[in-house]
Subunit: 480 residues, 2 copies
Amino acid sequence: MTKANNLRETEHLQEHLQRVIHLLYQHKMVEGLVPTQTMEHEEFAEALMHRQSLAELRTLLDKLHPADVAHILEAMPLEDRLLIWDLVKAERDGEILLEVSDAVRETLLATMNSGEMLAATEQLDADEIADIAPDLPRYVLDDVFQSLPMEEREKLRAAMSYSEDSVGALMDFEVVTVREDVTLEVVLRYLRRLDELPDHTDQLFVVDREEHVKGILPLNRLLVSDPGAKVGAVMTKKMTVFHPDEKAHEAAQAFERYDLVSAAVVNVEDKLVGRVTVNAVMDFIREESANEALSLAGLQQEEDLFAPVWKSLKNRWTWLAINLVTAFIASRVIGVFEDSIEKLVALAALMPIIAGIGGNSGNQTITMIVRALALGQLNPGNARKLFSKEIGVSAVNGLVWGGVVGLFAFFIYRSFSLSLVMMMAMMLNLLLAAIVGVLIPLTLHRLGRDPAAGSSVMITAVTDSGGFFIFLGLATIFLV
Amino acid sequence: MTKANNLRETEHLQEHLQRVIHLLYQHKMVEGLVPTQTMEHEEFAEALMHRQSLAELRTLLDKLHPADVAHILEAMPLEDRLLIWDLVKAERDGEILLEVSDAVRETLLATMNSGEMLAATEQLDADEIADIAPDLPRYVLDDVFQSLPMEEREKLRAAMSYSEDSVGALMDFEVVTVREDVTLEVVLRYLRRLDELPDHTDQLFVVDREEHVKGILPLNRLLVSDPGAKVGAVMTKKMTVFHPDEKAHEAAQAFERYDLVSAAVVNVEDKLVGRVTVNAVMDFIREESANEALSLAGLQQEEDLFAPVWKSLKNRWTWLAINLVTAFIASRVIGVFEDSIEKLVALAALMPIIAGIGGNSGNQTITMIVRALALGQLNPGNARKLFSKEIGVSAVNGLVWGGVVGLFAFFIYRSFSLSLVMMMAMMLNLLLAAIVGVLIPLTLHRLGRDPAAGSSVMITAVTDSGGFFIFLGLATIFLV
């Protein structure tokens, strides 16, 4: 199936277009097209819709930034998405594939034949091809390699060799270098011979003949300094450099802390191999925080919003299955106390309160700890301190909420001993939630795993089974 | 209490220092100080510790970037934090206060007298003072205003007038402007008269006599173009501009999409009032995603990791209290069916399975939707489509997991009708979770509220009460 096959005037064309236009309008992407300021949004959308043909929509898309086209594609249900994708000029395919999320890229590539995929990569730099390479079929990737000049081929091979969470994966190769012993005047003349500087060039890298990095020449300094001065006298050696194998997460933190726009990447011999720019870092930060949110909730990865049902299921099943096992365990814990419940059926109605509040409180603790770990604020030196704080919080919570649930139980069932048991169980389960809420992410972190992954499912498992056991156990001892 | 009062050689000094050094080392902030490459981390930390005095630590701190000092302060328990804060040179107070989180800033300001606070603000620009102004006592703020020159005072007043989530709050005033009718040669000479350019200057703003923005002159173009050319001929009119009242969230999306480093902020008359830079945007994105994670878990705001217990409690109580109310409701739902449970005690053991899986699945849905809303991928046009997808996912989940829990129930209790009821209840509760998981964030969003706020607590409330009602209701009809 090729892209062209999808280009069919569907019966629902009007409906598709309306959705696209609504989206375009909503994000102010066609602001320039509004005929008068006073025209209402809906009026405008309708006006556009009625005079809109596929050709006109194509013209509109041509004017949009590739990132905007990517956004539109991501926000569209599959059918609309492919319609729009067909309207995009073939020579823009590459830059747009680069901007969409992994999940959406898959759906777009699925409609392209190998020739189209090859053509799309021809518009991209080596480091950009490396970004989409994992989604390309093996034989297309071979063709891509064949079609590249030797130098680019080596760059692509290098870029693909770095793991996804390393600095190497964020790196590009667009460095402008100068020598230490020339004057700024010479540098300025050299730059003028270029057609343009690479995006995000805020500094030139000063290297020797063997490409060893000697320092950086910020454009700001180049512009305010005497043109007669030597590069060596104006450059600064105070610079942040990264190694390609360093964690991308650490590079991102450095960019945030030191407000960098670009930074050199050097190999073990201190030779310049590339640079990282702030836009790559910003994308990385977004993805990282998205993954944190998703994995806390027990989703494996970012999902195409309009993924087919079976794809979504694959993404969600692991943690649901684990959750099921923990629920079975909790159920068996209750099963052990069936005799007690038969004698005092109020226990059945009260036990979910203990478990629920415990889970909620544990989730608060876990969220705090996961964030502190992500920000590098936790270390063996202060973990104990944090532990005692969380236990303090849970103790006060236990007293207060334990009292409240005790009162609730007394009000409903008029049993003083039952409400005492309720209060004690609440306190103990909150204590358990605090301890385990600190331990789960810390342990995962120490094992080198993602501390967020399914933490929420696990803490709930502990506070459920634990809460039921504590409450029903106490009740069996003191009440039944 | 003044800062100086805290500077006391505590008995636990060695312990404090060890923690600080560990942290410094951990984050490679003192890498330059490692004597030999082969020396082990621990060895090094110990060596440092033994020859370390307060004075030496002070020297070490002086060498650190303010953001690194801020990081150390945030990762320290209160006592250590104040010890370090005392060692920081007074003239660096301002830049460090700017870098720490709101919660930690409060703890630092609490140790400073009004003179120290005033001195700290004297090192800052108007837009930076505006960032910490909400934490300053009223009378200190009045003094700050008095001490500023007229122009700065106006800027501070303006900066403080913008709401926290607006572009105005991200804005600074460090713009370099040029006229359209001069040559690049003149611009270059003008720049050379400056001591330095503001950080993150990647473009000059081209304005007329009335400060109307005419275009931008990227430094990249300035450097590669013929110096004899006019600014007007080289500048570009294709630029992203913001209004101070626009949502900061939208500006952040534009920075990400169009890979901006800086952008002009103009008022309603198109006059230049300031600029936004990528470092402010990156901080905003971090904060925004932190808030999303926190509010999903039912925390009101970012907490100082070592906040005193009562402060943490305040941050967590709202949602715990709401959770308690929903737990009481769930408990009363069970209470209604106490007769059924008394007759068939297995129901008590099985009901948490239905509620638990429902809650987990609902949380997955809600996390997806909250993310889609944050990315602006949801609109009335595609909400229905998304709805049917989530219902499809939950239907398949219901069949599969319903089957599994049915088998589980049959295996434990050997009752075919009980396992059928279990299966049906599972399916219905997953359906409920999907519907409510979509509706809660969409409704909050439509009401102009934060769609993440406590969503997790609410979905659990629905799947608990709903799950108990469905399961016990079905059981009462078909089994009892």
